[in-house]
């Protein structure tokens, strides 16, 4: 009984994490063939495990949307039927006939890829409204932010640059000196934060991944 309690505890997953992390670090700092081979295998394993997790995702989608259909959630359930149908259809074609099949290709090119760039290009619509609504000079900080944003935008406005060439110089200077300085500081401190956070996880102080 005691053994089972130990196996069930959160110590074992933590130990697994520590061992795997050490192998990943060893591969980098002590690149001998044997270490390299083991850590390559471990990385392959992680790819396979992550692929298995896709089943969990599909199960979650099916659960959420079959609930919608069962409860006839207002204005949503017909679309849930569409989702489940498309999911099963596209997955079926891909697994049975392979992704080279013309039907799969048709849906991929005319559905998936189009939707991909459509959502991506929605951004511009949201940029202009956020400029109108969210960017007002409330304090010294936001004022500085807006002034710098305007100068850096002038740099990408060719018509203005060809009339006032010195605006390009100002824009480049802003990018090369203040922006690069802040960026470097942020990179260094973020890296320190990442390492400290990872060490806290490895020492068992941050256990979010174990549901604690």
């Amino acid at each position: 009984m005691m053994y089972l309690a130990f196996i069930k505890s959160k110590q074992i997953p933590l130990a697994i994490t520590v061992i795997i992390t050490i192998f990943m670090l060893l591969e980098y700092y002590y690149p001998e063939p044997i270490v390299k081979n083991i850590s390559k295998d471990i990385r392959d394993w992680s790819v396979i495990i992550a692929a298995f997790a896709l089943g969990l995702g599909a199960a979650n989608l099916l659960r959420v949307h079959s609930q919608n259909i069962q409860r006839r959630t207002k204005d949503i359930w017909p679309f849930s039927i569409l989702l489940i149908f498309t999911l099963l259809l596209f997955f079926g074609i891909g697994v049975i006939f392979g992704i080279e099949h013309p039907a799969y290709n048709w849906l991929y090119v005319n559905g998936y890829l189009i939707l991909y760039s459509a959502v991506f290009s929605l951004i511009s619509f949201y940029v202009i409204t956020s400029f109108y609504r969210a960017m007002s000079v409330r304090s010294l900080e936001s004022g500085l932010l807006i002034v710098c944003a305007i100068f850096s935008m002038f740099r990408n406005t060719p018509a203005v640059i060809s009339i006032f060439p010195y605006l390009d110089t100002i824009g480049s200077w802003l990018l090369d000196v203040p922006n690069a300085g802040v960026e470097r500081a942020a990179i260094i401190t973020t890296a320190i934060g990442v390492i400290a956070f990872s060490l806290r996880v490895l020492l068992g102080r941050e256990r979010a991944q174990l549901g604690e």
Partner: protein
């Protein structure tokens, strides 16, 4: 009465501000594309430098064109890629196209279809080898031995059936490399590490606006011979080779939409201050 009318109009405007702004944005982009205004574009020294490098490649040289553009980056990179390709096809040189990112081979084909090839013949004057997976490992393998990395070209033709490939064994057989770069998976540093430094092949980079600051140190140290920056570089290049493409229209739309955004920013702040300081 007029007072009341005024507030009605104001309320109507306020409720529809979002939609009005978005319609303005669409107009500011669409109108210059339908009818290009021809706003002036200043030509930067960077782009001019690349133009001169391509112009001065010795006749009969072999150019390595590595295209690593992602589907998402194509909007920005189409213009410089096509412009430089067009310039290469006009010069008496032979070109080998290679892709190290999974999205790129189809984009290379799209670009090749848009380029006027004069009398250049596939297999003799230019070849598209396609994509091999592995990013850094793939680049290292390609540099050491082209024939092991690519048994066949993009269309499935074996390399020994392509006359151009007969004398190409490793990266030292290239006289210059031109690289397009958008993705962090295939950074320029890999090219420098595996092709430029060991085989001494000069490198020209067609870069995005975002990653260009990171490349400036290499340009200063001479590791990179030339650089074009984003769609702006493409538009400038189109002017230099006197072939208008999508870049020129993009530049007009870029000017108008940026001016609109700056105006909106200023108007928004004016309204904010009026609201803040007006007595109720």
């Amino acid at each position: 009465m007029t007072m009341k009318k005024n507030t009605v109009l104001k309320d109507w405007l306020r409720a529809r501000a979002t939609i009005i702004l978005q319609i303005f944005l669409c107009l500011s982009v669409a109108l210059p594309i339908i009818k290009p205004i021809g706003l002036p574009v200043p030509i930067s020294t960077y782009t001019k430098g690349v133009y001169e490098i391509v112009e001065s490649i010795e006749p009969g040289s072999i150019v390595l064109f590595t295209n690593d553009v992602s589907a998402g980056g194509w909007g920005e990179m189409a213009s410089p890629t096509i412009a430089v390709m067009q310039h290469l096809f006009r010069r008496p040189v032979k070109i080998v196209f290679v892709d190290f990112f999974e999205d790129s081979p189809i984009l290379t084909e799209i670009a090749l279809n848009k380029v006027d090839k004069d009398d250049k013949v596939y297999g003799v004057d230019y070849v598209h080898l396609g994509f091999i997976p592995g990013y850094e490992m793939a680049i290292a393998m390609f540099a050491k031995s082209i024939w092991t990395a690519f048994p066949a070209d993009y269309h499935g033709t074996a390399l020994n059936e392509l006359p151009l490939m007969a004398n190409l064994k490793d990266a030292s057989d290239f006289d210059i490399q031109i690289e397009t770069q958008t993705v962090p998976a295939v950074p320029t540093s890999f090219m420098l590490q595996h092709i430029h430094s060991p085989y001494n092949v000069p490198l020209v980079v067609l870069s995005t606006a975002v990653s260009s600051p990171g490349l400036m140190p290499y340009l200063a140290s001479g590791d990179i011979s030339g650089i074009t920056i984003g769609v702006k570089g493409g538009a400038e290049y189109e002017i230099l080779i006197k072939t208008p493409g999508s870049g020129a229209a993009t530049m007009d739309a870029m000017s108008t939409s940026h001016l609109l955004l700056i105006t909106v920013l200023i108007i928004g702040n004016v309204f904010y201050f009026i609201k803040k300081y007006r007595r109720p």
